[in-house]
Amino acid sequence: MLEARKGHTRQNRRRRERAVLLFIRLTAVLALAVMASILLYLLINGLPAINLAFLTEFPRDSMQKGGVLPAILGTVVLALGALLTAIPLGFGAAVYLAEYARPGVLVSFIRLGVSNLAGVPSVVFGLFGLSLFVTTFGFGRSILSGSLTLGLLILPTVTASAEEALRQTPQSFREAALALGASRWQAIRQVVLPAALPGMLTGSILALGRAAGETAPIMFTAAAAYTLAPPDSIFREVMALSTHIYNLATNSTHIEETRPQQFGAALVLLVLVLGLSMFAIVIRAKLRRGRKW
C-alpha cells in the first residue's frame, strides 16, 4: 500500500533541498563578501599612504607627515604583554578545570565566571584597569597597566581554548602515564601538556590578535596620543595603532588631511592581526601533522 507513495513527495523534496542549499551558499558568500569589501575598502584608501617611511618613521607635522612606527611598536608590545599576563593565569586555570576539578558548585561558578567575563564590554575592562592598575596600584598610564588590562580582557578566551585543548587530549594518555607510575602532575606535565600545547597556543594567538586590535581598554590605561619616547620601560606610555586611528579621526587638528594616515594605520593593524591569525593556523597545522586523535 505504501509502495505507491514512496515517490510521492519527490518533486517537493528536491525543490526544498535546492532552496536550502541556495540559501546556505548565499550566507557563506555574504560572509566572505563583507570580509572582502572591508579589505578592499582599506586597501584602496590605505595603500597609497603606505611606504617604507610610513612603517619606519615617527609622525611629523601634527601627524600629517611621517610614519606610524611608534604605534606599531606600541601595539606589538602591549599585545605581547597581554599574552604574558593571560597565559600563566589562563593555562593554570585551564589545567585546574580540565584536570583536577571535580564537578561541583565551585567549578560551575568558575566556569560561569569565565564565560561571563568574556561577555563584558571592553570599555568596562578599560575602566577597571584605570581604577585598579593605573590609580590604585599606581602604575600610571603605562605599558604595564595596558598589558595587564588587555591580559584580563583575553583571559577568558585563553582559558576556555586551553581547557578545550586539554579536554581533547585522549584520556588514554593520562591512563598510560598513571599506570606507569607517574604522579598526577607528572602525567600532566610530561604527557598531557605537550600533547595539548599546540591547541592551547592556537587559542592564545587568536586572542593575541584580539588584544592587538582593542582600543577602549588601552585608551584609559596605556595609550599616549603622541610620544617620542621609545617603549624602553614598562612604565612608559606608548602609542598604539588602534588609538592612533581613533585620535586622528576624532581629536586631531587636521582630521580631513590625515585621512590617508588613518586608513594606512588601519590597514597596518588589519594586516598585523590577520598575520597573527595566519601564524596561529600555520603552527596548528604543523603541530597537528602526524597525530591521529
Partner: protein
C-alpha cells in the same frame, strides 16, 4: 597462609561505584609466572577487578572497596601502601594502543625515567631489552626516533607492552589487549603472551583467546567470581552450570 607461588591474592573483595556493587566477595589466588585469563559477559566485573590490581580505580569518583588484595604478600590497599609504587611494580596494557605522542624511544624510556634512570647508555639498554621482550626490536630498531603514532596498530600495542616491560614489573595486567587489533596483529600479541613466561593477568571477551593462551581462567558473572581453575578443565569440564552456559554460547 599465602604460598610462595601465589603472586596475587584477593580476600573478600567488595567494590562499589557509588551505590552500584560491581564486585561481590571476590576470593582468588593467582600464581606467579602463569597466564590468568578473566572472561565473562560485558559488565561482569572482570575489567573492574583487573583495575583494582594496580589501583587504577582510585581515579573513579565514588569508588569504594572493602576486603583486601595482596600482591607479593603486601596489602596494596593498606593505608601505608603507595599507589605510585604499586603501579611501577604492576604494569598495565590497555584495550586500545595508547602510545604517547613521542618517539618510540621516549615511550619506552618513560617509566625508567620516572624512577630516575638518566644515563643514556642504561636507557639504551633498557629500551633494547624491553623491545626485544615485546618481540618488536627487529621491526623498529632503525627508527627509534620516529613517533610511535606512525606505527601500525599491532606495533603500537607492542610498544605499549614494551613500555610497561621497561619497568621490569612483577606482573603485567592486560585489558582486552587485542580487541582493537586485526587478526594478524592479534596472533602476534597472543604468541608473545604465551611465550613471555611472565605473570600475566589478561581480561578478554574472546573465549577462544582465553583457551589458547592462558594457564588458568576465571569466569565472572554479575560481579561474582563463578569459577576459577585450570583453563583446560574450565573449558572442557566446567563445574558450574553458569560457566557451562556461557562457554557453550547459550548466553553472553
Amino acid at each position: 597462609m599465602v604460598e610462595d607461588s601465589v603472586i596475587i591474592s584477593a580476600r573478600n573483595v567488595d567494590f562499589y561505584y557509588g551505590d552500584f556493587q560491581a564486585l561481590k566477595n571476590i576470593n582468588i589466588d593467582i600464581l606467579r609466572d602463569e597466564v590468568t585469563a578473566m572472561i565473562g559477559p560485558s559488565g561482569c566485573g572482570k575489567s573492574t577487578f583487573l583495575k583494582l590490581l594496580n589501583r587504577m580505580n582510585d581515579f573513579v569518583p565514588g569508588a569504594r572497596l572493602s576486603g583486601e588484595i595482596f600482591i607479593g604478600g603486601e596489602s596494596i590497599y593498606a593505608p601505608e601502601a603507595d599507589p605510585v609504587v604499586i603501579r611501577r611494580r604492576v604494569g598495565m596494557v590497555f584495550q586500545r594502543p595508547n602510545p604517547f605522542a613521542k618517539s618510540i624511544y621516549d615511550n619506552i624510556c618513560y617509566g625508567p625515567r620516572l624512577v630516575g634512570v638518566k644515563k643514556p647508555k642504561e636507557l639504551d639498554e633498557l629500551t633494547e631489552k624491553a623491545l626485544r621482550a615485546a618481540a618488536l626490536w627487529e621491526e623498529v630498531k632503525d627508527k627509534l626516533g620516529k613517533s610511535a603514532l606512525e606505527l601500525s596498530g599491532g606495533q603500537q600495542q607492542r610498544v605499549c607492552i614494551a613500555r610497561a616491560l621497561a619497568l621490569e614489573p612483577d606482573i603485567l595486567l592486560m585489558d582486552e589487549p587485542t580487541s582493537a587489533l586485526d587478526p594478524i596483529a592479534t596472533a602476534k600479541v597472543e604468541e608473545w603472551i604465551k611465550d613471555s613466561g611472565l605473570s600475566i593477568v589478561i581480561v578478554t571477551h574472546n573465549m577462544q583467546q582465553a583457551a589458547r593462551i592462558s594457564d588458568k581462567t576465571a569466569y565472572f558473572f554479575l560481579g561474582e567470581l563463578i569459577e576459577f581453575g585450570p583453563t583446560k578443565e574450565l573449558f572442557t569440564r566446567p563445574k558450574e552450570v553458569k560457566t557451562e552456559n556461557y562457554i557453550t554460547g547459550r548466553f553472553g
